[in-house]
Amino acid sequence: MTAWADHLLVAPIVVPMMAGAAMVLAGNARPSLLAGLGLVSTVLLLVLSATLLVLADAPEVRIYRLGNWPASFGIVLALDRLSAIMVALTSVLGFAAFVFSLARWHRAGTHFHPLFQFQLMGLNGAFLTGDLFNLFVFFEVMLAASYGMTLHGSGVARVRAGLHYIVINLLASLLFLIGVSVVYGIAGTLNMADLAARMQAVAAEDRALLEAGLAVLGIAFLVKAAAWPLGFWLQGTYAAASAPAAAALSILSKVGIYAVLRVWLLLFGTGAGASAGFGTLPLTLIGLLTIAFGSVAVLASQNLARLAGASVLISSGTLLAAIGMNRAAVTGGALLYLMGSVLAIGALFLLVELVERGRDIGADVLAVTREAFGAGEDEEDGEPGERDAVGVPIPATVATLGGSFLACALLIAGLPPLSGFLAKFAILAPLFTPGGGLPSALAWVVMAALILSGLATAIAMMRTGIDAFWASPAGTPQRVSVLEFMPVALLLTLCVALTVAAGPALDYATAAANALYAPADYLRPVLKAAEAAR
Amino acid sequence: MKRILPHPLLALVLLIAWLLLVGSISPGAVLLGCLLAIGGALALASLAPPRLRLRRLALLPGLLRDVLVEVVRSNNAVARIILQPAAKTVRHSGFVRIPLDMRAPYGLAALACILTATPGTVWVDYDAADGTMLLHVLDLSDEAEWVRIVKERWERRLMEIFE
């Protein structure tokens, strides 16, 4: 018998699954029914993920054996803190994007609702599964739905970007398959815990092969994580996607990061024998290059949406670099960073649409050229009187949007007072442990990268923000419905909460990271279940 | 009856096909086969195929035998043509337009099957307006002979069966 509480592990997958399936059957004729189903599902997911967060805060991972087959033989779900964090982020972002879409986007094309649910299902599945091939399957569920979501609404830009997105992800999926099958061919198992347990026993002459397979797998993950030079698809895709789709996408790129974290640390942890620590330096270097490219891209962005996309690159790079440092404390910081970054970038993507609404197309380009060619210098050359300058009252909508934008900017650039700053500190502090030995050269580079990328983001966002909120004539304020603003407010409120409760959040994240670095706690329950069944 | 089993003959064929597939004539297989045959016939009915009426079933075995013989014979003939040295090509191929009297769809289909199944001839086209059929023949020495063969050997007997 399985206790009802155990089913909670599979619930985040099953709820959107059933909701989506029911939506397909219901058809497009009754939009309110679809919206209602979606609301029930997303709210339920919120509740579930909160419960899982609590459940996961335990010394051992929780295991759910699908089909009642023993672990390592059937497919198991495994809930640890990392999974719980990712599922919670998915739920929050999913809820926000869903509510946002109810204002107008869900009517922009057919099948929005079921695809949205499938995307949530894919994400949750990817985060919860303990099986490598099942991870592939859920990657595909999530991607298949995200293809639909990015194309939602159609139009030249979306289709053009969608084509790239799909082709690249298909290639990455093929790489994933190659990697998985090599792993199976050499190690003889697909269960991640089982695999980790077998790592040490892999014969020396087979190890190179296994590692080659995992390296290919790693490339697949890095493509999904949009690491440089494999992630040029990201900006275009995110910029073209509709706002709720892009917001949900902001966690999609983190799936690659999650996979790296999960697979790398499990397989190449201290228990991996000769393979321990495999590929960490390349990971950091790739992360640093990604940060560098993201910073350049953020500065070179001609519009808000591309800027937001570039900030995803920086965020991915930061996480990869931090994970590559291969230290639990740094990874803990990185997880804190991940939480804030996903929420903030999600909020930004929603905001982009609200800000851009009603603005001239190409206004951003103008803003940059204005700066580039120093237009407006004439004004200063005149009389330095300021009395004709009387403040312009800002409509409440603009003020709210501006404030939210400012909050996003602070979060993403990692400036005080919001959690972005604390997260960067949490990554850097262990690298510069008070009183420890001299920090490594890599630590200095990471510090420089984090700080300079924050600066680049700040400059770029300031430029765009000034142009969007200050320079444009406050003529007709954008029409923004409460339904659209509430999700942004929710996400930002959570960021504020993350700032205030940074201590507990960091403790949770560090506990998650520590568990990743001590995979014994992950292996034990899985293998125990496997043993019991034999 | 017609509503339950619209195409009894086809249903029977389906039942036989099912039994062949499962390779068993156990009661279970037959029962399931009957159900599926009825279902298949219903599905077919929705496609509104022309009605199949077999008038003189007795002619069928003879026809089949002749077809088989013709298939073997023309296999041999065509194999020879293919394998003969390239130099000795005096044969020429070509199209023959043959006026047909038969209008029954199944009869026409059967004729097409027979002509195509015998190597050396291919049914190319059928013109419903003037009821002519275009045949391509690999070894075309005498057009009139082919018209005769088609009309006498096949069309006449098929018309007896299907019309």
Binding site: I451, R463 | V22, L47, P105
Partner: protein, 981 residues
């Protein structure tokens, strides 16, 4: 009041007030001002309440856990020095609020500015009473942020936006450097607590990371204090409303930098590096600022550069590595705050009442506003260092330090002269301020008729000027205790003897003062002509305009360079991206192999089957052929791919995988139809026979791709060979085979694996198919063919056979050339369905299963579409509703999984039993079959949804064309579609 609460309230109250003010209605100016003033005064009161314990040498603390794991807590710490600064911040803050109430125009949305002012005050308070390094950096960046908002208050003007942006760029950059410095400092000290840092002076100075820490921290401090070469942002920040300028320039923003220098002076100063960096920069800044100030025509510009100069002076003092100099610096911080705030307010009053701040237009205002003139005069005199005013005393101390400085590199010799020169400049610009605005003939052509401002607007100026006077006359009695308190808390017991008195006797500093005063006056007089000229800016270094250089640099770095780099390091094109991914995968796998080294495995290869080998010669030829001709001969490539697929299928059979063969086969057929459906919408691509060969670059690119393709192919071949020839590990497969029948209830292990052991994979997989089908359908709903594909294919224009032919029994649905196929294919429909059911039912035990079965049904329907046409088929197969099949299939499959929960089993647990039925006998009942039926239904629905949606485009296209082309003519014919050969 407990100290924790006091400190917390001190920091939190302004922020809370800010929030409230921000929510006030736009024109609630009195409410906002009252709120802001009340909060500033309350804060001042709180500071005053702290005086008893601070003055007793105590340090107030508050410590609240925030991120204890990393040593970052909300640590507030108020010692004498912090107390003094807190007093300055809140006290001047209160005055500024009062001033702003009268200064800001009636129609200005003032609650906003009060909100920002309060928040800024809170941030500044946070900086001065931070007890933790990281937290200090935290508040530090907040001051940058709120100053940005304050400077950009009038954001509809370009100057405000640019000033704000420049200020934030420079100070936030510095702030980030400071953050880095704090991390390094924390590393050196072993704690981020200020207390710990202040006790670790020697360790810091001797640590190998001292210099990096110093540079980072100085970058923070010097940018904030507008020191050369980062000074240029400050004059541009005067785009802020004057009350804001008064606040930022006197007590707060720029003072944060020197506050930091003084705060860490005991632990970081005293080294040569300190002197060279801090001292030199202070010196240059002092001179430069003062020199440029003389030539400013804008009252506020003059004051801004004077601020730069005075902060340079303070920095220089701090750089001198002498305790007395530190005392002088702290003292001058206070004095400067007093006179600079009052002067800014005076400038604001002038601007407010006359409508201009241009010194060249202003004149003789002392007649219209005598009281203001007198106040300004006193304040300016304090700035110039006239005796009996506060500026004089700190300047005397400065001169004394300049004389006695122990500076390396012979700097000691020039220091006194530089000090005098700077002082003389300061006298000159002070004279210009007063003389230019208040003296001379009556002004002409002013925007407004000048008169005295409202009394309350002058009140803050009066307070400040009184302070200048009071301190100047009775320094020891007024400022003495406070200065002592501050200095003592910085220096601890090492406080040197200093003498706060106006008269030190006839000494060298006094002489220097006299020379400076006289020299400054002379300089001003001699510059009269130059200053009246229309030439803008200062002589000699006019071209070195910091703002312009900054803008150029920023545009270059943050835009041009970034764009160029992005173009170099990134791409928006697909091909390079794919190339990179392939190369990366190849290199990643290859590198591992290269470094680890591996060869073929230990197993002997199985004997080569010549039949399969020769079949693969064909398969390989198909693949290569497809690769070669896919550009111009699409159809041929499609056919060749079909050939290769068939060979793959045979291979599956060869190696004992019938299920794979079945599935591959059905997929093969559907894919071919699918691609053919698509081919119609692609542009014609015809190879021009006489075309010149590809360009050299193209050829090189192709060569590279060829190498990449060969590498990827070779790599995969090698990898697979290596895996195949290795001893299989302790495979899971063993378990699958052992349990498939006994526990899974099926003899087809692959199928049992699919629907049971790994049923979760299959469940996911069908959702992939469903999602794709839905997405495809949605996209096709919005499909818009390119204009040239709107024309029906040439074939159809040529053959009018598409029109239904009249025949007996009504209109025949198809052209007569399709008659025979139409008859035959309809008969095939139930046969195909039968085969599908057969495959579905046997799947668990024999090759087959839901997926191939579903595909077969879909193919059966597609065949009807192909031969019968869309309209006819949909009329006759109306009961086929793909979306219902999809939904039902998904629900059935997922529902079967859920049903297990009712029996207390985990999701997807299967149930299996034999049921004995009458007549029929023993029948296996497996929930896995229901699952498979779900898969079946889904596959039918999804495949049909996609194919039919695609097929419908032709119908829609035709409808669209018939509107455009009623009579097709040869002229509009598209080139022959299948120009494939």
């Amino acid at each position: 009041m407990p100290e924790t609460a006091l400190l917390l309230i001190l920091v939190a109250l302004p922020f809370a007030g800010s929030l409230v003010a921000g929510l006030l209605p736009t024109h609630a100016r009195n409410a906002a001002a009252a709120l802001a003033g009340g909060i500033a005064l309350t804060s001042l009161l709180l500071v005053w309440m702290a005086y008893p314990s601070v003055s007793a040498g105590g340090v107030l603390r508050a410590d609240i856990a925030w991120m204890p794991a990393l040593g970052l807590n909300l640590t507030l710490r108020m010692d004498g020095f912090a107390w003094l600064f807190a007093g300055l911040v809140t006290g001047i803050g209160a005055l500024v609020v009062l001033y702003a109430r009268y200064y800001m125009a009636e129609e200005d949305p003032v609650p906003r500015i009060f909100a920002f002012l309060l928040a800024f005050m809170g941030a500044m308070t946070g900086v001065v009473i931070s007890g933790n390094l990281v937290q200090l950096a935290f508040f530090w960046e907040l001051t940058s942020l709120f100053s940005f908002l304050l400077i950009g208050y009038w954001h509809h003007t370009t100057t405000a936006r640019e000033g704000a942006r420049m200020a934030l760029t420079v100070t936030a950059t510095g702030g980030l450097a400071l953050f880095a410095g704090m991390l390094v400092l924390g590393h050196i000290v072993g704690s981020y607590e200020v207390d710990a840092v202040l006790e670790a002076g020697n360790r810091i100075r001797e640590h190998p990371l001292y210099l990096p820490a110093l540079v980072f921290i100085l970058l923070g401090a010097l940018t904030k204090s507008a020191q050369f070469p980062f000074h240029f942002w400050l004059p541009n920040a005067m785009a802020a409303p004057t009350p804001v300028s008064a606040y930022l320039h006197s007590a707060t923003l720029v003072k944060a930098g020197v506050f930091l220098l003084a705060r860490f002076w005991p632990v970081m100063a005293g080294t040569e590096a300190w002197f060279l960096i801090v001292g030199t920069i202070g010196l240059v800044t002092m001179l430069l600022g003062a020199y440029v100030a003389i030539f400013q025509n804008d009252l506020k510009g003059l004051l801004a550069y004077s601020t730069i100069s005075h902060l340079g002076l303070i920095t220089l003092l701090l750089g001198l590595n002498s305790e007395l100099a530190l005392v002088a610096a702290v003292f001058h911080i206070l004095n400067h705050a007093a006179f600079k705030a009052s002067l800014f307010m005076a400038a604001g009053i002038i601007d407010h009442e006359t409508g201009t701040r241009d010194i060249r237009r202003l004149s003789g205002l002392n007649r219209a506003m005598p009281f203001t003139a007198r106040l300004a005069l006193v304040a300016a005199a304090a700035m110039a260092g006239v005796p009996l005013l506060n500026g004089f005393i700190s300047k005397e101390m400065f001169f004394a330090e300049a004389l006695s400085a122990d500076a390396p590199l012979g700097l000691a010799n020039i220091l006194p002269f530089v000090a005098m020169l700077g002082s003389a400049f300061s006298v000159a610009y002070s004279l210009r301020f007063i003389h230019g605005a208040f003296f001379g003939p009556d002004p002409v052509d002013l925007p407004r008729a000048p008169h005295e401002p409202a009394a309350w607007m002058r009140f803050p100026v009066e307070i400040l000027v009184l302070t200048c006077l009071g301190v100047g006359v009775l320094p020891a009695a007024t400022i003495g205790p406070f200065l002592d308190l501050a200095v003592r808390s910085v220096l601890g017991d090492d406080v040197p003897d200093y003498n706060l008195s106006v008269w030190h006797g006839l000494n060298l500093p006094l002489l220097m003062s006299v020379v400076a005063l006289a020299g400054g006056a002379a300089l001003y007089l001699s510059l009269q002509r130059l200053l009246r000229s229309e030439i803008e800016g200062e002589p000699l270094i006019r071209r070195l305009e910091g703002k312009r250089i900054f803008e150029r640099t920023m545009v270059f770095l943050s835009w041009r360079l970034a764009r160029r780099l992005e173009a170099v390091a990134g791409t928006r094109r697909l091909q390079p991206q794919l190339r990179l991914i392939v190369a990366a995968a190849f290199l990643a796998g290859g590198a591992v192999v290269w470094f680890r080294g591996f060869g073929p495995g230990n197993l002997p290869p199985s004997p080569i089957d010549p039949v399969l080998a020769s079949v693969w010669v064909v398969g390989g030829a198909c693949a290569l052929g497809a690769a070669t001709i896919a550009k111009f001969h699409r159809l041929a490539a499609l056919i060749l791919v079909g050939g290769a697929g068939l060979i793959v299928c045979i291979t599956f059979v060869w190696f004992s995988a019938p299920d794979l063969a079945l599935t591959q086969l059905t997929v093969e057929v559907v894919t071919t139809v699918l691609l053919l459906l698509g081919l119609r919408w692609l542009p014609k691509r015809v190879q021009v026979p006489g075309e010149r060969g590809p360009e050299v670059i193209t050829r090189a690119r192709r060569l590279r791709d060829l190498a990449l393709a060969a590498g990827a192919g070779g790599g995969m071949a090698a990898l697979s060979y290596a895996v195949m020839t290795r001893t299989p590990p302790d495979l899971l497969a063993q378990d699958f085979l052992a349990r498939a029948y006994t526990e899974g209830g099926g003899t087809n292990v692959v199928n049992v694996t699919l629907v049971d052991f790994r049923g979760f994979d299959t469940l996911g997989e069908i959702f992939v198919v469903a999602a794709v089908a839905l997405a495809t359908y949605a996209l096709l709903r919005r499909f818009r063919p390119a204009p040239d594909s709107l024309v029906p294919p040439a074939q159809q224009l040529d053959q009018h056979a598409a029109e239904p032919v009249e025949a007996e029994g009504g209109t025949r649905p198809v052209a007569d050339w399709l008659l025979v196929p139409f008859t035959l294919t309809r008969l095939l429909f139930p046969v195909m369905a039968l085969v599908a059911v057969f495959l579905l039912l046997r799947g668990h035990d024999l090759p087959g299963g839901g997926f191939p079965a579903g595909m077969v049904v879909a193919i059966a329907v597609i065949l009807q579409y192909m031969i019968g046409g869309t309209a006819w088929t949909e009329e006759h197969l109306a009961w086929l509703r793909p979306r219902v099949w999809i939904g039902a299939g998904l629900l059935l499959a997922a529902g079967t999984g859920l049903a297990a929960l009712a029996f207390g089993k985990p999701f997807l647990t299967t149930y299996f039993a034999y049921v004995v039925l009458p007549v029929i006998g023993k029948v296996p009942v497996a929930s896995a079959l229901i699952f498979d039926i779900g898969v079946f239904a889904l596959v039918v629905g999804a495949t049909l949804l996609m194919l039919v949606a695609l097929a419908h485009q032709s119908v829609r296209g035709r409808r669209a064309t018939s509107r455009v082309l009623t009579k097709p003519s040869r002229a509009v014919r598209a080139p022959v579609a299948a120009g494939e050969d």
